[in-house]
Amino acid sequence: MHVVLSISAKRLALGLATLLAISLIVFFSVELLPGDLAEAVLGQGATPEAVAALRHELGLDRPAAVRYMAWVLDLLHGDLGRSLATGRSVAELVADRLGNTVVLALAAAAIAMPLGVGLGILSTVYRGRAFDRVASTASLAGISFPEFFTAYMLVAIFSVKLGWLPAVALVGTGESWLQRLVVLTLPALTLALAVVAYVLRMTRAAIVGVMAAPYIEMAQLKGISPVSIVIRHALPNALSPIINVVILNLAYLVVGVVVVEVVFVYPGLGQLLVDSVSKRDIPVVQACCIIFAATYVLLNLLADVLSVLSNPRLKRPRQQV
């Protein structure tokens, strides 16, 4: 067991290092600004006094290293600073939106993951036949389409032509769960379509990669049936790449929500990020980036650890007979 532990510990250390590096990048990239944040906020015409005052207010007159430490400490306490645009607490701003984004991503994942893995396995069982070819072409299209294309196609069909579902996904606080579900359908479907395509292709590739191994030929020569070969002989060896695929696509979903939220005007974190970038509301951008990146890093870490756990070679290191 110690091998698994030590590898997991290494991955964990790397994950934490990545998080640290990301916080450094997020914080210090602001230093790249011509002039500094205060000048950027107040613009060209500001008086030096005003700039100095804002600089003091923002704490910019302290050394960068001190400010970074303070920023990280605040971050760990859940204090994300104040929005430059509205003056509101970033934490409040983010908290509302984060819940919406998580609900959307989970809804999409619940549709996409089982469907993608299942279709991927079916594709290998029937590889080379009609089902596989249709799945292959459809999924190629699925990964080639930009999300906004899929989104507008769905809107054109379900909202404009059929009028079944709303084209925008405005959610307030007072709706019932059913209303929320109706509103969520199109955004979740858009995300799910892309993810199903990715998961299908990667699952298929993982199993087909294993199917070229000599032990699969051996299984064929033992007279094992094709379905049993895929399920009992190939799948256990493809498990670790498939787990990886699923989690990496979860990570992708978290980022993919940005575009879908914009299309459907869904009040999530992605929408907030895009708005803040165009307003150059740096504290909000920093907070959103940290949240997205941390989720992404943690999911990647989870994928790494799970794929270690599903490898029998690592579970039982070689012992001499």
Partner: protein, 285 residues
């Protein structure tokens, strides 16, 4: 004639892909001569219907695909947009490959510290979701075409680095590289003469895939309003500017969106075929 013969035997999907790509290339090369109107010319009312999708009994439309939110000809904007969108993506991919291949080969040949440093930097950059990273940089530096190209090329170079390094590491383990080292050849010679020629064909397919990614990425940024800025015609921005029309039942934003989707599907189909035809036949028992 060898290439023509190969084309002839290509599957239908690849032929369609090549056809679509050819139309796009023609638009890129000859935009000012094919487009019926100039890039920014106003030709009618906003969102006037074109010949395609016009309601029955309407006044005879003067344009094929209608007009956009400012009354400019959509077809002309699409043709000029092809030029901008594709050339910027192509330039970005080329820069990203130059950086990625150089660093990847360097890491594989030098090993040791150089490899460790480059690989860890890339690990961190890839630990950061690309779109988020790009949005952050754009928030700070503002969106302009050089910034866009620079940021995306750098982010994409991390992927190219990973692949090049993996390919080069496989090659590097081969005896012919050992022979060159034993002869006393320099790092540069090993990279250029021993590794690069053998890495070209696996990387060629990758170029197609990375191009698709970069192209979609720029389109996405333009779509959220942080990519190519107006009045430059660009497919992603065209979707964004006209997105509101869809609520009125006007399908105009679907034209640029389809153009984007078609091109990426086409390139993917060609790459699929190229990969399949170089990896040989597989008939399963």
């Amino acid at each position: 004639m060898n290439i023509l013969g190969k084309l002839n035997r290509a599957p239908l999907s690849a032929k369609i892909g090549i056809g679509i790509l050819a139309i796009n290339v023609i638009c890129v090369l000859f935009a000012p001569w094919i487009a019926p109107y100039a890039e920014g010319q106003v030709v009618g009312d906003p969102w006037a219907p074109g010949l395609v999708g016009a309601p029955e009994g309407d006044l005879a439309p003067t344009t094929l695909l209608g007009t956009d939110h400012l009354g400019r000809d959509v077809l002309s904007r699409l043709i000029f947009g092809a030029r901008n969108s594709i050339l910027i993506a192509l330039l970005t991919t080329t820069i990203s490959f130059s950086i990625g291949i150089t660093c990847g080969l360097l890491a594989a040949t030098m090993r040791g510290t150089v490899d460790q440093v480059l690989s860890r930097i890339v690990d961190v950059m890839m630990g950061f979701p690309t779109l988020i990273f790009a949005l952050m940089v754009l928030a700070i530096l503002g969106s302009s075409i050089p910034v866009l190209i620079g940021v995306i090329a750098l982010l994409d170079a991390t992927r190219v680095f990973r692949i090049t390094r993996a390919v080069a590491m496989d090659l590097e383990a081969q005896d012919f590289v050992e022979v060159a080292r034993l002869r006393g050849e320099s790092i540069g010679w090993i990279m250029r003469r021993e590794l690069l020629p053998n890495a070209v064909s696996p990387l060629a397919a990758e170029f197609g895939l990375r191009f698709c990614f970069v192209f979609l990425f720029i389109a996405t940024l333009s779509f959220v309003g942080l990519g190519i800025q107006p009045p430059t015609a660009d497919w992603g921005s065209m979707v964004r500017e006209n997105a509101a029309a869809i609520s009125f039942g006007i399908l105009m934003p679907l034209f640029p969106a389809s153009a984007i989707a078609l091109l990426t599907v086409a390139v993917n189909m060609i790459v699929d075929w190229a990969v399949a035809s170089t990896s040989g036949v597989r008939n399963d028992n």
